[in-house]
């Protein structure tokens, strides 16, 4: 096949993939800027420009509180998950104990249960613990899906860190906690950023648990709040407001990825030991 054809084919594919992944979001932005009956006219280029929907969603009742809830929830979930996962990863990757393999497999198995399967049981636990209708219930529930993959990814990553560096730190008199905090953590930035982002996104987008464990409007998180946005009458679905809210909650994710992609640099251990 001639070079030109290959090249054209390649870029056609790129354009297709970009369109496929970006178009829905682009269309959400377009819709969020329309108002009134313009909402129901289909067009692919921005013709209207009205911020009324944004104004509406941000001044309407508890939506700003919902955003704050989501931020607090996601940040706390990420912080606790990473702390537990890093300490667990040290034990699972560097300390030999009976049943280590079994424990790792169990952790993996936990992440295989569908959310709906554990929902009823979790609900009972949440009621029993007295955290129903609070963010604590969600912090607790989200660990179920964030911890397995953070533990697995960090364990794999830590296992690949050179053992001599740890031994050098032991000879230098560092305790296991000092080794994890001052020697391993700085070397694990790429893994921490990646797993932290994934955990953040998972917590940010989660719907089912958030819908079930919280019934109070002011305690809801953003995905549930958006789904429950209602218009003036039961028959009207407020597409403009929903799209504006969706755009608002997507922006933080994009900003986070852009900030941290600089941190995802490879070869951080270069120079420590002979390759």
């Amino acid at each position: 096949m001639p070079y030109a054809v290959k090249r054209t084919g390649f870029y056609a594919l790129v354009v297709f993939i970009v369109l496929f992944s970006v178009f829905p979001f682009y269309y959400a932005i377009l819709t969020s800027l329309k108002s009134g009956t313009a909402l129901f006219r289909v067009n692919y280029l921005p013709v209207d420009f009205s911020l009324a929907n944004y104004e509406g969603v941000l001044t309407n009742g508890v939506f700003p509180t919902n955003i704050l809830n989501s931020v607090i929830l996601a940040v706390v979930v990420v912080a606790i998950s990473l702390f537990l996962a890093v300490t667990a990863a040290y034990a699972l990757s560097r300390i030999n104990f009976a049943g280590r393999g079994l424990l790792l497999l169990t952790i993996l198995a936990v992440s295989m249960f569908p959310q709906i399967a554990v929902l009823a049981g979790l609900f009972e636990m949440v009621r029993w613990a007295g955290v129903y209708n609070t963010l604590f219930s969600l912090i607790f529930a989200y660990m179920i899906f964030t911890l397995p993959f953070t533990v697995w990814v960090l364990t794999t990553f830590m296992r690949d860190l050179p053992i001599e560096i740890e031994e050098a730190a032991i000879v230098d008199g560092a305790s296991p906690f000092t080794i994890v905090m001052r020697v391993f953590l700085p070397l694990m930035w790429p893994a921490l950023v990646t797993t932290g982002l994934l955990a953040f996104i998972a917590a940010w987008n989660e719907f089912l648990f958030a819908l079930t464990f919280v019934s109070n409007n002011a305690t809801r998180t953003v995905p549930v709040a958006i789904a429950l946005l209602s218009g003036a009458s039961e028959q009207e679905i407020p597409w403009g407001t929903i799209m504006a809210a969706s755009v608002i909650v997507t922006v933080p994710l994009i900003v986070l990825v852009l900030i941290f992609q600089r941190k995802i640099i490879s070869g951080l251990t270069a120079g420590g030991v002979k390759g």
């Binding site: 001599e164 000879v171 230098d172 560092a174 120079g271 030991v273």
Partner: protein, 369 residues
């Protein structure tokens, strides 16, 4: 200032024992080199002394104190790793200061003074602000040594520190380590290597290890001149000692031996009569052999191969033994056609006799020689 005393030190991984009761006394301020082939347990022994591996049995004393259950830090040791093992995210300065910052009661000025002193000794002052990845291999190894110096250890451990360096740098760093030992008077140093040149040049005493046992302990020249057994005899020296199976024809004040592939030689070694007629091993170092035109030269054969190294020539000779060729190390350049028949001889005092089990047979006369 600390001596080390190992008493019946054993190390086992599960049911596999890799160190079988090591007894060793190391004097304070001594430079001791552990040497042996791969898998002989020399690195394991060093790691046991360091405290990176538990001791399965026996006791280890440093400075008269049993340290079996102490951490590396409490033992007062510092270690230089083969792969440098620097902290990649810290500058050279922080790498060297890290151990000190973990100690309570060491002030900032004191840390700074010690780091700069170590940097001055090792000539790495210009690189203090660099990260390890911006350094060459030799510089990295010096930082690793510097990190150990700042800790001011009682015992300094080296685990094959030169094996990742290229040949020229290896010689240079070897000399620096020898100087460092002179400078750090009173600091005991233990050095693991498989390189016999490093062992011979650096050591006050060499410990030859084989399969988890100590074969012999002694100064480099003791080991070279009077090896206790066949293993030590073959391990030190390059090319290694020629060993010929032999029979003791007559024992007594001097011993008459008939080696396979050679003619009868009389050795100035006294042997007990019980060895009369018994099999033995005759060892001759390649450098002790010289060409002889004498028809009575004990070793005669045809040249198989010559290797010219410049200052010496190695000549491989077939003397009618199937297994290993007989090697002679002759001074200067020696031109010899393949297939040439030559005779070789050695002074009887330079030949070593080992009994059937490989133990050296020595006598007072041999020692005097």
């Amino acid at each position: 200032m600390a001596n080390l005393k190992l008493t019946k030190v054993r190390k086992a991984y599960g049911s596999v024992e890799v160190l079988h009761g090591i007894d060793l006394d190391i004097r304070a301020g001594e430079f001791v080199v552990f040497v042996g082939p791969s898998g002989c347990g020399k690195s394991t022994l060093l790691r046991v002394i360091a405290g990176l591996e538990d001791i399965t049995g026996g006791t280890l004393e440093i400075g008269g104190r049993v340290v079996n259950a102490l951490t590396p830090k409490q033992r007062g040791i510092a270690m230089v790793f083969q792969s440098y093992a620097l902290y990649p995210h810290m500058t050279v300065y922080d790498n060297m200061a890290f151990g000190l910052t973990l100690e309570k009661g060491t002030g900032k000025e004191e840390i700074d003074r010690r780091v700069r002193e170590a940097a001055r000794i090792l000539q790495i002052e210009p690189y203090l602000d660099r990260l390890p990845k911006a350094l060459s291999g030799g510089q990295r190894q010096r930082v690793a040594i510097g990190r150990a110096i700042t800790r001011d250890p009682q015992v300094f451990l080296f685990d094959e520190p030169l094996s990742n360096l290229d040949a020229a740098l290896r010689v240079q760093t070897r000399i620096e380590i020898a100087r460092l030992h002179e400078r750090m008077e009173g600091t005991t140093m233990i050095y693991v290597t498989h390189d016999q040149v490093e062992a011979m040049t650096l050591a006050d005493r060499i410990v030859v290890l084989n399969k988890g046992h100590v074969e012999q302990v002694g100064s480099p020249m003791e080991l070279y001149n009077s090896p206790d057994n066949l293993f030590v005899a073959k391990f030190l020296g390059s090319p290694s000692m020629n060993i010929l199976p032999a029979t003791i024809e007559s024992a007594g004040a001097t011993t008459r031996v008939v080696p396979q592939g050679g003619s009868t030689v009389d050795l100035p070694v006294a042997t007990p009569g019980s060895l009369q007629g018994k099999p033995a091993h005759l060892g001759i170092r390649p450098e002790d052999l010289s060409v002889s035109d004498d028809r009575a030269a004990p070793f005669r054969g045809t040249v198989v191969l010559t290797e010219s190294l410049g200052e010496v020539t190695l000549v491989y000779i077939d003397i009618g033994r199937a297994d290993e060729p007989f090697v002679a190390k002759l001074p200067g350049e020696v031109a010899m056609e393949r297939g040439t028949r030559i005779g070789l001889t050695a002074r009887p005092e330079a030949m070593r006799l080992f009994d059937e089990s490989g133990q050296a047979i020595r006598s007072q006369m041999r020692r005097a020689a």
